[in-house]
């Protein structure tokens, strides 16, 4: 198998991520704070509704909720921006020959960096309220897997988006549905046991649940569960990447 990314590809990714970051944050005084604003806003509203109005009994609800929102927000932002990554760089695709996968990889990577910045806020809150354990280091693995899973999905979306310009609206609706079918604002304990297996078909439910385990409950998920997640993530990435690569040569013509 040919190497996934050459040295020069990495160099281009680095420059693209750097420039995307500058472009995202340089044109406003608040810069990065705006990106934080969206998940925090969502967090604030949900917290008021569920914790104060509905008196949800989930322990450590603020950190529980915030972690779920940050991970979900990464997935939804990375896929939505990433599916645009080919069309928005039409100029490059039609005029320069380079590995097209770079554009998708760089786009989801930029979003990943934003997630880590958001996560810093979460970790500060966590340390202030409950404290953090050594289990938290396992999140490095989850972040890598989350990135692979998200990028795999984005490869497919970005390719299809060239053909179907309404895909973005469809995907927004699907994300909305996904938000409610994933245990982000509620706990699995309120869901009847027989539905759990369906919920765990969704890798994001696993990412969020397992991350809560290591950050908030201070215990490591079973090895078996981690292996399933590794398998799901790699499989999604490989399928997405292979599909993208098999159609790569048609992109310049169709875009």
């Amino acid at each position: 198998m040919k190497r996934l990314l050459g040295k020069q590809d990495l160099q281009i990714i680095k420059e693209l991520v750097k420039s995307e970051f500058k472009l995202r944050y340089q044109n406003s005084y608040l810069g990065y704070l705006w990106t934080l604003f969206k998940p925090l806003m969502l967090f604030g509203v949900i917290y008021i509704v569920f914790s104060i109005f509905m008196r949800s009994a989930i322990p450590n609800y603020p950190t529980y909720l915030l972690l779920g929102i940050i991970i979900w927000n990464y997935f939804s932002e990375a896929t939505l921006i990433g599916m645009n990554s080919l069309i928005s760089r039409r100029d490059l695709i039609t005029k320069i020959y380079f590995n097209r996968a770079i554009l998708v990889i760089a786009s989801t990577l930029s979003s990943l960096i934003t997630m880590f910045l958001n996560l810093a806020v979460f970790i500060a809150l966590l340390i202030a309220t409950q404290g953090i354990g050594p289990e938290a280091f396992l999140f490095i693995l989850y972040a890598i897997l989350l990135y692979l899973f998200t990028t795999g999905i984005t490869f497919i979306l970005a390719y299809l988006y060239i053909y179907f310009h309404d895909l973005q609206h469809i995907w927004e609706v699907l994300l909305q549905i996904g938000f409610w079918l994933t245990p982000i604002i509620y706990s699995l304990s309120i869901v009847p046991e027989i539905y759990h297996r369906y919920i765990f078909l969704n890798p994001l439910a696993r990412f969020i649940e397992y991350s809560r385990d290591i950050f908030i409950s201070h215990h490591l998920p079973e090895l078996k569960l981690n292996l399933v997640l590794i398998l799901m993530s790699f499989l999604t990435f490989i399928v997405g990447y292979k599909l993208f690569k098999s159609q790569e040569h048609t992109i310049a013509e169709k875009i």
Binding site: K22, D91, I93, F98, Y163, F164, A252
Partner: protein, 394 residues
């Protein structure tokens, strides 16, 4: 050694009669047949480009020049045939691709450099050279959107010239920029030429093709022609005339004397295609004679761009008899202090037998040069060296 071999290359596009750009449309018309037609740009294209060669591609708009360049760059895939490329192709076709308006020149140099295949270290090393060429020194940290178009194209070209490749593809590079910038570009071309790089130049600037490219490709709908630039350009400029004189042209091709190139030189015998009124122009004709020819006659004709025939000297009328020619040779015609005024002029070059009835070779209006004014307020085609005098008052 062949650097690029094109074998039976064909490219067509599918043009659907009804464009479906959304999932909704695709689902609604899933069972309806979508008619489409194939648009064949070119097919069975065969040619080779040698290492160190400057190769021109000409043709009218939409004939597939840029598409061919994109196939060579690897951006598009051909439908049939193949291209064998020995060496590294610079991956860009146009200048300033991927410039981000909102970022500074410095940031853009790094992005652009990476896309052209340079490492960060290399870009670092080449930065002074880029800045010197682009002449943007103290604007390095200014956003590109605030650059003038001239500065932008200088910067783009400066980066592009730093790309390390064996084969460069240029699509209308010189269409932008002022005279000074164009001069700089020409210097880079000369440098590449001396370094033995292979260059493929797509351009409507036929003078440029004539000056730099030894051979060219003309693509027209369903046909193509590869050959010496002079002949290919001639065919491009005078398609109808050539159809009528087809036999004559074929005779030329087997002719004993062939004009291999014609260049305009300045007084120091350097190739130049833009002159001022009053400057010396040397028309330099290179020929190849496959056998001994006695008393040949070489001729020139200068036409204004609009077709007006201005002059037509030949070695016989100028009382410059040539005893005989054999093999390769060059004959120069000096026009001291030209009196032509601003405009583009076309040049016909020919070689006849002594009777001037039978042409060995005849390249009609396939070379050109440009005259620029040496001062304002000049009218007409030519300026004679005349004087005024007042001879009395009323």
């Amino acid at each position: 050694m062949s650097q690029i071999i094109v074998k039976n290359l064909g490219k067509s596009f599918i043009i659907p009669h009804e464009r479906r750009n959304t999932l909704k449309e695709s689902l609604l018309s899933a069972f309806k047949k979508n008619d489409y037609e194939h648009y064949q740009l070119f097919e069975n294209l065969n040619f080779e480009i040698k290492k160190g060669e400057f190769f021109g591609i000409i043709g009218s708009n939409g004939s597939g020049k840029s598409t061919l360049l994109k196939i060579i760059a690897g951006i598009l895939k051909p439908n049939t045939g193949e291209i064998v490329i020995n060496g590294k192709v610079a991956p860009f076709l146009e200048l300033g691709i991927g410039f981000q308006q909102e970022l500074t020149a410095r940031e853009n140099i790094y992005i652009n450099g990476a896309l052209l295949g340079l490492s960060q270290k290399q870009i670092h090393q080449k930065m002074p050279a880029i800045l010197e060429f682009a002449e943007i020194g103290h604007f390095l940290d200014l956003k590109i959107k605030n650059f003038s178009s001239g500065m932008r194209s200088r910067l783009a070209f400066a980066i592009a010239t730093q790309a390390e490749a064996d084969i460069y593809l240029c699509d209308e590079v010189l269409a932008v920029g002022d005279e000074k910038f164009q001069k700089k570009c020409l210097e880079v071309f000369k440098k590449w030429k001396s370094e033995g790089k292979t260059i493929i130049l797509v351009s409507h600037a036929l003078d440029l093709i004539q000056q730099f490219c030894s051979r060219s490709l003309l693509i027209e709908k369903n046909s193509y022609l590869v050959g010496e630039s002079a002949i290919v350009i001639n065919r491009y400029l005078n398609p109808s005339q050539l159809v009528g004189n087809k036999n004559l042209i074929q005779d030329y091709q087997n002719a004993t004397v062939k004009i291999t190139s014609a260049l305009t030189l300045n007084r120091d015998f350097e190739p130049q295609s833009v002159f001022e009124t009053g400057e010396d122009i040397i028309f330099s004709i290179k020929y190849n004679s496959s056998q001994l020819i006695n008393n040949p006659v070489f001729g020139l004709a200068i036409y204004h761009e609009d077709g007006t025939h201005i002059t037509g000297p030949n070695t016989k009328t100028s009382n410059f008899p040539i005893e005989s020619i054999h093999g390769n040779g060059r004959i120069d015609c000096r026009l001291p202090a030209n009196i032509l005024l601003a405009g583009r002029y076309l040049l016909t070059v020919s070689c006849f037998d002594y009777s001037c009835a039978y042409p060995f070779d005849y390249l009609d209006k396939c070379f050109s040069f440009t005259i620029i004014p040496n001062r304002v307020n000049q009218y007409g085609l030519v300026e004679f060296n005349l004087s005024w005098e007042i001879n009395g008052y009323d």
